[in-house]
Symmetry: C2
Subunit: 185 residues, 2 copies
């Protein structure tokens, strides 16, 4: 049961966002600016970083919805690729650049000061530029917020994968900013 009174049947982060629309607005704008950008990292890569950090934070709702969005972008129909990235990205077919960025994201998840100069150098050697590194750090940091918002209020989450598949389609079509304001959760 959630720690505060939230509308029933509204899953995950959408419950608190409906409770507090004046803070949900900027949070969705941030998600949109950060995740629905085509500059540098692809949308699928951005969602992979968010999914990985959400799995490190053990946030079921976030890792499942963002995993579903990543899978949709990456044509990973049975979710097996995203599952492998979460459990052991080093052994996947991801680019060396993405592997080094996920390593940085993992450090950010434990705390910003864990990011080392060596990790940054490795990422650059693998083709990452300032924008890629910036966006990786901010995506990882932002998911440390979203995950804590979802679990710190003990929100509920559906288990039916089709609910996440359907919501993923809506996010991909309309962006994050639109998903609360028009009630299409």
């Amino acid at each position: 049961m959630p720690h505060i009174k939230l509308e029933e049947g509204v899953p995950g982060i959408l419950g608190p966002m409906l409770f507090s629309p004046h803070t949900a607005g900027p949070m969705n704008l941030l998600a949109n600016a950060l995740m629905q950008s085509d500059e540098g990292l692809s949308r699928g890569e951005r969602e992979l970083i968010g999914t990985y950090v959400s799995s490190l934070n053990d946030c079921y709702f976030c890792q499942t919805i963002h995993g579903a969005i990543a899978s949709a972008y990456l044509e990973d129909d049975d979710w097996s690729f995203v599952k492998n990235v979460k459990s052991n990205y080093a052994e996947t077919t991801l680019s060396e650049k993405m592997k080094s960025l996920l390593s940085i994201a993992g450090s950010v998840q434990r705390g910003g000061k864990n990011v080392t100069t060596e990790q940054i150098e490795t990422a650059r050697k693998n083709g990452a530029d300032d924008r890629d590194i910036h966006d990786t750090v901010l995506i990882a940091a932002a998911f440390c917020m979203f995950n804590r918002y979802v679990d710190g209020l003990a929100t509920t989450a559906p288990t039916d994968p089709d609910i996440y598949r359907n919501r993923a389609k809506k996010v991909i079509a309309n962006g994050y900013s639109a998903t609360i304001s028009n009630g299409t959760y």
Copy 2:
């Protein structure tokens, strides 16, 4: 030295925000909506929660600037009260309500799932309502983002307290949203 190329002499979070204005915009709107609200918790109490979480995350820039803002609101001229809140809030003259909310904020800092039903019940017994609990969780979660953004990119921070005092006055007068766009950092 920061992990990416940031404008010199721009301290803390303001460097990455200048680097990436399209994500800074929503982040400042969120800070404004969350910290410059008079509904329920006072602005000084909101800043205390942000300062406390920043100290748990060992983020020098954030705990110093938000500590300076909290001190300005709470007429804590020599910063001794905020310092005591950071080191041992239970022994301060803070209200029992604020102490129980800081306890919740501390749990969120370690991860959302650490918030217990007992902590929520204690907060309610001490006068906290759904809005107070929601805002405490979201402030704590948001500072877990801001702190990681600042330290994950290894930004630099000035040590002169007057720089923080002066910036605190500007934030109190103009809000967070205005401090980047008009260049008054």
